[in-house]
Symmetry: C2
Subunit: 119 residues, 2 copies
């Protein structure tokens, strides 16, 4: 396994959960799956259809999203939108996410020197 393969694998894990936040962040107004895949990929959050569709259904089953079919268009589209609980969870999740980012940022820019080292 070379460097790039390691990085790819680690990135895979790092992305975990971020897809969910990305999805939730876009569903304050209704959108359908196919458009979400496209948009998220454009915005730098790579996601596969085979990942997104199950995710959407999962989130709906858990009560974070609500869905409705639009059959007026050329092809039927399934629109998802945040439920009340979804909104609340999303708000809170953002705060927690920022906490994680801050902690990790802290570790990365290692401040070993300002430990006020008493040896």
């Amino acid at each position: 396994m070379n460097e790039q393969e390691h990085i790819d694998k680690l990135m895979l894990e790092l992305r975990r959960g971020t897809i969910t936040i990305g999805v939730l962040s876009q569903l304050s107004s209704p959108q359908y799956g196919y458009s979400l895949v496209t948009m998220l990929n454009e915005k730098g959050v790579p996601v596969e259809p085979g990942t997104l569709y199950p995710l959407l259904r999962r989130l709906e089953k858990q009560g974070l999203l609500e869905s409705s079919w639009d059959t007026n268009e050329a092809r039927p589209r399934k629109y998802y939108v945040l439920s009340e609980m979804g909104k609340a969870v999303y708000e809170q999740l953002c705060k927690e996410w920022e906490g994680i980012v801050r902690s990790l940022d802290d570790l990365i820019h290692t401040r070993k020197d300002e430990e006020n080292g008493d040896d």
Copy 2:
């Protein structure tokens, strides 16, 4: 499932991979597992011994870490430190991590209105 349970579960996923970065970030100089558990928890990256030890062994097997026993102390300690490849991977991973953070930050502070924003 109430709000808090949802958040806990989502947080669990969000933390994925961040533990690895946290560990790598601390191993430019050698440290042993037990001290890492303590330190990371202090620094806001909660991690269980049962998570860290397998992680360290995994990273060593993959060639990102090197280990050596110190049997001079009261109890034997297994010290880990970044290998050359580990350093390279860590450097690159940090950049990628910042990319993820930036993308997600972008999505969270939804700029729906300024869709025409070409810098």
